[in-house]
């Protein structure tokens, strides 16, 4: 059958994409609007970006969020990869069902429930052990928890389709187990590792609900500041900030896509 997309399907796709993109494009346009009034176009201006660069509160929050995201996604990468290896390569072990369930928990658990229960955990731990105090540390721990799940699912999918015969061949040729893992398995997993780290990074950077619950009085992340500003009404500097974040995320997605495509080509060439 020739691949022919009906006009109806194409129209629906167009409507959907327009729906997804128009608000973002409008937001980007507003960020260059000289007028502070949303309905008036006051000419092109980069004033809001300049104002942003001088906003100490936002800069501080941005640094905190970036730091949390880097630490959380790196730790989650390690834990999630271990979980994926365990789930794919170990047929039976104690706690297998539990691990499977917990890896899928963040996908079905409303964020607000995760946030409340983790806050109650931290508060109870503080009562019992005198540690941890709520702040950056507790946000990192919460973020590691949900990011680990996303890493595990992504890496698991890649590991399932990986060719294990290559590892066996390397071992037959005299490679030690860790060498085989380092030289064969890890390069196969690399695209999944890169994309799951990037996904974790953006999820952590974006998280509002869980962070709000587990954060302490002094730790305000970027989404918390943005939410507070947005709640009060339109603020043009948020438009500028949003544009910068969207540009950064867009760059991450493009890098991940290019890497995935290159990896695919590589695998196809090898096969």
């Amino acid at each position: 059958m020739t691949r022919r997309v009906s006009p109806f399907l194409m129209t629906m796709f167009g409507i959907g994409v327009a729906f997804l993109y128009i608000p973002i494009l409008v937001l980007i346009a507003y960020s260059f609007n000289a007028s502070a009034l949303a309905s008036v176009w006051g000419g092109f201006s980069t004033n809001w970006y300049v104002a942003l660069a001088h906003n100490a509160q936002i800069l501080h929050a941005a640094r905190l969020s970036a730091l949390i995201a880097v630490i959380a996604s790196t730790l989650a990468l390690v834990l999630g990869t271990l979980a994926a290896i365990a789930l794919v390569r170990f047929a039976r072990f104690r706690g297998r069902l539990l691990l499977t369930g917990m890896v899928h928990a963040p996908l079905v658990m409303p964020e607000i429930i995760t946030g409340i229960t983790q806050l109650l955990l931290f508060v109870s731990m503080l009562q019992i052990f005198g540690w941890p105090h709520r702040g950056m540390l507790t946000i990192v721990l919460s973020h590691v928890a949900f990011c680990t799940a996303y890493v595990a699912i992504t890496v698991q999918a890649r590991l399932q389709s990986a060719d294990m015969a290559l590892e066996d061949a390397a071992m037959d040729l005299g490679a030690r187990p860790l060498e085989a893992f380092w030289d064969i398995t890890l390069p196969i997993l690399r695209p999944a590792l890169v994309s799951s780290w990037l996904l974790s990074f953006t999820l952590s950077l974006d998280d509002l609900v869980i962070s709000t619950f587990v954060s302490g009085p002094r730790a305000s992340t970027l989404p918390m500041i943005i939410y507070a500003k947005v709640k009060l009404g339109v603020s043009p500097d948020v438009n500028a900030l949003a544009t910068l974040i969207i540009a950064a995320v867009g760059a991450c997605v493009l890098i991940a896509a290019v890497m995935a495509r290159r990896a695919d080509k590589h695998t196809q060439a090898a096969a």
Binding site: M1, R3, L9, M12, F13, I15, F19, L20, I22, P23, I24, V26, L27, Y30, L82, A83, A86, L87, V88, R89, F90, A91, F93, L98, L99, M102, M109, P110, E111, I112, I113, T114, I116, Q118, L120, L121, L141, S142, V144, A145, A149, D163, M164, D168, M171, A175, P177, A180, L199, T202, D206, P223, Y227, V230, K231, V234, I246, V249, C252, A257
Partner: protein, 328 residues
């Protein structure tokens, strides 16, 4: 019908070329892992298992415990369950009043049902818009597909909060939509969309549409088009072939996409808080207020526990039944 696909797709896997022997869907370990296993595979299993248990499982036990306590003015704002008596010993004090409160104060039941209703119709709207989108992607040329996929993935990765805020820029009273419609003289009064139920629906569909499209695309893309040819050779009209062949075969994608939209939408806080009006009392908002405005942590804990039992319990059972069904 769907059973057949599951089995077929399993048989179609090029198992031989991938090496390893499938054991309960898990492949046998290579040699390096067997060595590692002897050395103690707990080094691999334990860190994620313990970490996730501490942050996903144990919090529930604490929530359960606190849901039986009483709100108090102390820090943290709840009473202790174990009250030590003078001279040793003690007794357990369980307060059931938080749960009784959930049943007597109708705001919880009402907002829970309202959340279910909102999530259901928003999911339906996502499906109606997302299905043709995914189908269009699946029918496009292979080379175009990866670009189309990227177009859908990009918003999926973009900050949720920022996208809700961006939508506000379009639908608010002096936003783009009203400006354009006024300019075109379609309307002469700005449409009031913000702070209405419609805004909440638009917000959910806008935010979760990629979650619907991606799994649908994944199933539709694998669809065997020769089946459609066969249907048309046998005299089926296109829409008949769609209803008889495509739709049933894509049910796994429909279910996966609907779950990914429906479940988080029930607990949604940001969308009703930013776009909705005072009437749009979804359970996430009630919980948030209980916690941050009323400081009633025990009631919030009880709402969380009840919410999980009512939502996640049935879902787990449903999943279990579905896996059982696929096995038979």
């Amino acid at each position: 019908m769907s059973n057949h696909t599951a089995i077929d797709s399993k048989n179609n896997l090029p198992a031989a070329s991938r090496g390893g022997i499938p054991v309960d869907g898990v492949r046998a370990a290579p040699v390096w892992l067997k060595a590692a296993m002897r050395a103690g595979r707990w080094l691999i299993v334990a860190p994620p298992l313990v970490f996730l248990a501490v942050f996903f499982l144990i919090p529930f036990l604490f929530a359960l415990k606190i849901s039986f306590s009483q709100a108090s003015l102390s820090i943290p704002p709840f009473s202790v369950l174990w009250q030590t008596a003078v001279g040793g010993g003690g007794h357990l004090v369980l307060h059931l009043k938080n749960y009784r409160y959930l049943l007597t104060d109708e705001v919880y039941a009402v907002s829970y049902l309202y959340s279910l209703k909102t999530a259901f119709f928003a999911t339906l709207a996502c499906l109606v818009l997302g299905y043709p989108m995914a189908y269009a992607m699946a029918r496009a040329k292979k080379s175009t597909q990866s670009v189309l996929l990227l177009i859908i993935i990009l918003p999926f990765w973009t900050s949720f909060l920022l996208r809700v805020y961006a939508l506000e820029g379009v639908i608010r009273d002096n936003g783009l939509l009203n400006t354009v419609l006024l300019w075109l003289h379609v309307i002469d009064q700005p449409l009031k969309i913000m702070r209405t139920t419609l805004a909440v629906y638009l917000g959910i569909v806008y935010s979760y549409l990629p979650f619907m499209v991606l799994p649908l695309y994944a199933t539709l893309e694998k669809l065997d088009t020769t089946l459609l040819e066969a249907a048309s050779d046998l005299g089926s009209r296109p829409w008949r072939a769609f209803v008889d062949v495509t739709l049933p075969l894509s049910m796994p994608g429909v279910i996966a996409g609907s779950m990914l939209v429906f479940i988080p939408a029930i607990g949604e806080y940001v969308i009703p808080a930013l776009l909705g009006g005072p009437d749009n009392l979804m359970i996430g908002r009630v919980l948030w207020d209980e916690f941050f405005s009323n400081h009633d942590w025990p009631v919030a804990a009880a709402v969380s526990v009840a919410f999980l039992l009512v939502l996640v319990g049935p879902l787990a059972l449903y999943q279990h039944a579905r896996i059982k069904q696929l096995e038979h």
